[in-house]
Structure formats: C-alpha cells, structure tokens
Symmetry: C2
C-alpha cells in the first residue's frame, strides 16, 4: 500500500485524465498508467474504467481517493511539526488572486512576510468568475476567492476555506451627483440611474438583481466592465453610477467621486482563502494565510476608523 500511488489516484480524481496527472506530477503518462495499474492489482478490484477515450473512477476508486486526502493531510501535518520545531516556515507558496483583492492585500502581506527568510510567495492574478475557483486549488496553494453571501459553492467539495474579510459593495457616484450629499442610499434611490455594470454572470450582478426585485423596475445598464479602475473612470466622467467594493476602490476622491453605502440590501462580498486541505496544513501556507488575515483585518479597521 503505497502513498505515492494513492496520491496519483487522488490527482486523477481531481484532474480527470492520466495525461493531466502526468503533466502535473512531471511524469510521463505511461508511468502514471503503470502505477495506477499496480495500485489496482494491490487493491484487487477495479478503481478506474474507460469512458470514451478517457477514463473515470469507479465508486471504490473515488472512496480510495478520498481517504488518500486524509493521508495527505496527516503527512503535511507531520512536516508542519518539524517546521514548527525549526521554527521556520520555508519553501515556496503559490497564490492566485483576483485583481482587486490582490491590490488591496498582497503588497502589505509580502512586506509583512519579508522577515521570513526562505519563504517565497509566488503570486499570480486571474480574472474572477471566468475562472473556477475550486479547480484552481489543484494548481495553487492558496486561491483568493470571493463569493456573495449565501452562495457557498465551495467547502462542499472538501476544500478548506478561511474567511479573510467581508467587503461591502457601495454605490459609486460622481461628486456632483444629485445623491452625493446623502449618507446612504436605498434601492429606490438608485434604480432609475444609468448603471455601469459588470459582465453578465459576475457575482456583483446579483445585487443589481436584488435592487430590481425590490423596486419592480429594471436597471438601465449601458456599459459592462470587469476592471474596477475602468468603472471608476466612467463614474468620475459622469457617465453613470456603479457598485464598487468599498475597500478595493480608490475610495472617496474629493471633487470627483463619492461612495455611499446601500441600505436594505445584502450588498457585500466574502473574501476567502481557498485551499486543498493537505496544502492548508503546511506551515508555510498557514503563515501566509495568517498574514492575509492580519492584513485584511487591518484594512477593515482603517476604513472603520476613517468612517467613524
């Protein structure tokens, strides 16, 4: 009963094809195929079966892959033990973020982690919503993901999820807008405005939907952008209003743009760190996550202080 082989089976469960597993583990497909065959012979029952030109796991295969995860967790916990004894979080940690969260958190996090000799964090950004967050955990140690409240798409898949912060979505207005003097806005105040939206199927869309549901009117959306800077430039040009994540935006720009909270709506997003459970056990990974949490708390505190 070999751990390496079980690991291969788990990779197969996640990635779905022998070739993908081979790519990910720096081996040839032949090697993977051979090892799986050995495992199957040891098990004494079929773990995979062909389906078209690929192959899929049997029930037994899936069950075994699941317990392989437990083994991986125990293993990583063991290495975390000696990392703790050396008191050094070392190694490489890969992280993928969506742009806004990265801009808000990562510079500070990397500065905070600079003191950790031997700990290298590799960061990449990837468009949100276009990418399947859970799937990314196969290729990155940490995936910064966001979700609107209530839609807990992950966690069910056996992934570890650490909440970092909840960020309110405000309404961004030009500074000379007729509503710019208000403290907060309700759905009725804003539904008639010209909106700058996000691409269809982006998560923010739901808040606009809620506004429409609450008022019974349709919002007029003329532009759709993914990039927050682009949206803000349109707001400041007086071309419309938009939902803007409070901490991520450039904030109130005196004379150009103001942010107003939405009331009576569930208008905030959860930002979480998403990980495969075994990866989450690594001391280096936990160290980075802790830094993320600290930084997120700091950002929230700063904004609370500024508002109060």
């Amino acid at each position: 009963m070999d751990v390496q082989r079980l690991e291969l089976l788990r990779e197969l469960a996640e990635r779905g094809s022998v070739t993908a597993v081979a790519l990910a583990t720096h081996r040839t497909p032949s090697a993977v195929s051979q090892q799986l065959k050995v495992l199957e012979r040891e098990a004494g029952l079929p773990l995979t079966e062909r389906s078209g030109r690929g192959l899929v796991l049997t029930d037994a295969g899936r069950a075994l892959a699941a317990s392989a995860t437990d083994i991986a967790v125990a293993l990583e916990r063991a290495t975390a033990v000696w990392d703790t004894f050396r008191n050094t979080a070392t190694g490489d940690v890969s992280l993928v973020t969506f742009p806004t969260a990265g801009q808000m958190l990562l510079p500070g996090v990397l500065q905070d982690l600079a003191s950790h000799e031997g700990l290298t964090v590799h960061c990449t950004d990837m468009d949100p919503d276009l990418s399947d967050f859970p799937a990314l955990t196969s290729d990155y140690d940490i995936v910064l993901a966001h979700s609107m409240r209530g839609q807990l798409t992950w966690g069910g898949r056996g992934l570890t999820s650490v909440p970092l912060m909840t960020e309110p979505l405000d309404v961004g207005l030009p500074a000379d807008h007729r509503l710019a003097g208000r403290v907060s806005l309700g759905a009725g105040d804003v539904v008639g405005e010209t909106w700058i939206g996000v691409p269809v199927d982006y998560a923010f869309e739901r808040v606009l939907h809620d506004i429409e549901l609450q008022t019974g009117s349709r919002a007029r959306i003329t532009q759709r952008f993914a990039d927050i800077r682009l949206i803000e430039s349109f707001i400041m040009a007086g071309l419309g209003i938009a939902l803007v994540p409070r901490y991520t935006s450039s904030g109130n720009q005196p004379g150009r743009m103001v942010l107003k909270p939405l009331r009576g709506l569930d208008s905030e997003r959860q930002i979480v760190a998403l990980m495969r459970p075994d990866r989450a056990e690594r001391l280096a990974v936990r160290t980075v996550v802790d830094a993320l949490r600290a930084r997120a708390a700091q950002v929230q505190a700063e904004h609370a202080a500024a508002a109060g």
Copy 2:
C-alpha cells in the same frame, strides 16, 4: 518526506533501540540507521541523540513519531476502504490473551469466524500481570487485557481500547461450606476464612485488600496460584475459598463448589481489547474485535439467563 522512514521512527519510539526495530521490521540495523539518518537530514534537525550505547529520541523526534501514528491510522483506514469494497476481511490477525479470557471467548470466536474465508487468527496466551499489556501491542494486533475498575493504565498511551465485558468476581466456596446456602456475601462474612490467593501484584489482590480495609482484619492467605483450575481444585478439596471470575470459572458444580456474589464491594474486572490505533483500523482486526464483542455479550446473556 517518506512514510516508511516515519514508520521506522515510530517503531524506534516504541521499541527503543535500532536493533529492536531492525528485528521487528526484518531488516538489518544498518538499514534502519541509514534511513533514520536520511530522515534526520530531511528534517534538518536532530531527531535522536546517543545515550550510553543506545539512543533516545529528542522532543522533535517524539513529536514526529506521534504524527507518524496519525499517518499510519489514515493509511490503514484507506486499506480498510478497499477491504470494505471487496467485502472481505482477509489477512492474518495476531492475538494474545490471558488464559481465562481465552478459554471463555476464543473457541466461540474462532467458530464464528470460520465462515470468513482468508481470515486467519493467530492466538497465543500469556500470563497476565506478569506481562505489560500495552507493550504487547507492538507485537500483536489484539491484546486481550483485563483491569480492575478505576485503574485505566492504558488509553493514556494513545492506544485504542475496546471494552468487551465486565466480569464479576465471585467467591468460590466448597458445596458443604457453612456459607453455601447464602444468596450473597459481604466482606464481614468472608474475611475470617482461609483464602487461596493469586500471586502478589495480581490485579485480583485489590479486592482482598478492599475486604481487609472494610473489615479492619487481615485475610489469611495460605496458597497463591495463578491458574484458575488449580484454585478451583483447592476450593473443592475444602482447602479454602477464593475469588473466582464468574464467567471464566467452571461455575456451580453441584455437590462440589458454589459461587456467591460479593456485595458492598467493587468486585469486577473489565476485559478489553487493546490495540495500536493503526492496527485497530484494519478491517480484519475490526472483524475479529466485533466477534469478540458479540461472543462476550452472549456469554454475559447466558449467565444472566441461568441466574434469573
């Protein structure tokens, strides 16, 4: 980070010497030493240190050995998964028992397990109290142990313990004894008798101690035997009375011996199956333990019916 090596470290933690580990794992001491050295180099910190001509684990070594157990548990759980899918508990299970429990349970258990093709149970007996029950778990899958209530010497050591039954300790009397007509006996009734005891430091001794404590008198013990049959033969010969485990003894022998419960005393022993946690996960082992539990319950039920 290799599982095999961690396993070796765990064996070292249990057995205390490289040579012992080598013996147990069918390797040469040199091989063990080399592997431990590799592990140490990987860990980047000392896991063992010399002490006299042997060596002992450092704190880090012990911690790592402990997490090695978690890995072993996860691993055995994985093999249990596929055993479950094959629906066959196969392989060899080794068991060591003290004589009385073995006589009471094992014949029935082995009969019950005869239907399991490919499951072989190797049984051995060993003198109780003389042997250190927890230590035996290194060499046997299942250790049948007994303890008096309140003395939970094991469990603390990270061992898995499954209770099988609690067996009352009765007083065995010759059939023509003056107390033979009584339903039950108190400490005062029996303390003045001539006793046949067990070797000093046997667990039963505690009940006699309690009797002495309760009455303030000393019991007169003239013979000390470990073997229950021998004790019974002395009772029937009218040479004294003794504590007799109710289910294990030959029971009431019309015209020769009667058993009377002790009241007002905590006079019973716990019979448990003691296992290393990883071994306990094996389906074959669990199957045997289940059979033991069933048999034990049956024995208790039969006696309850006979008494009622």
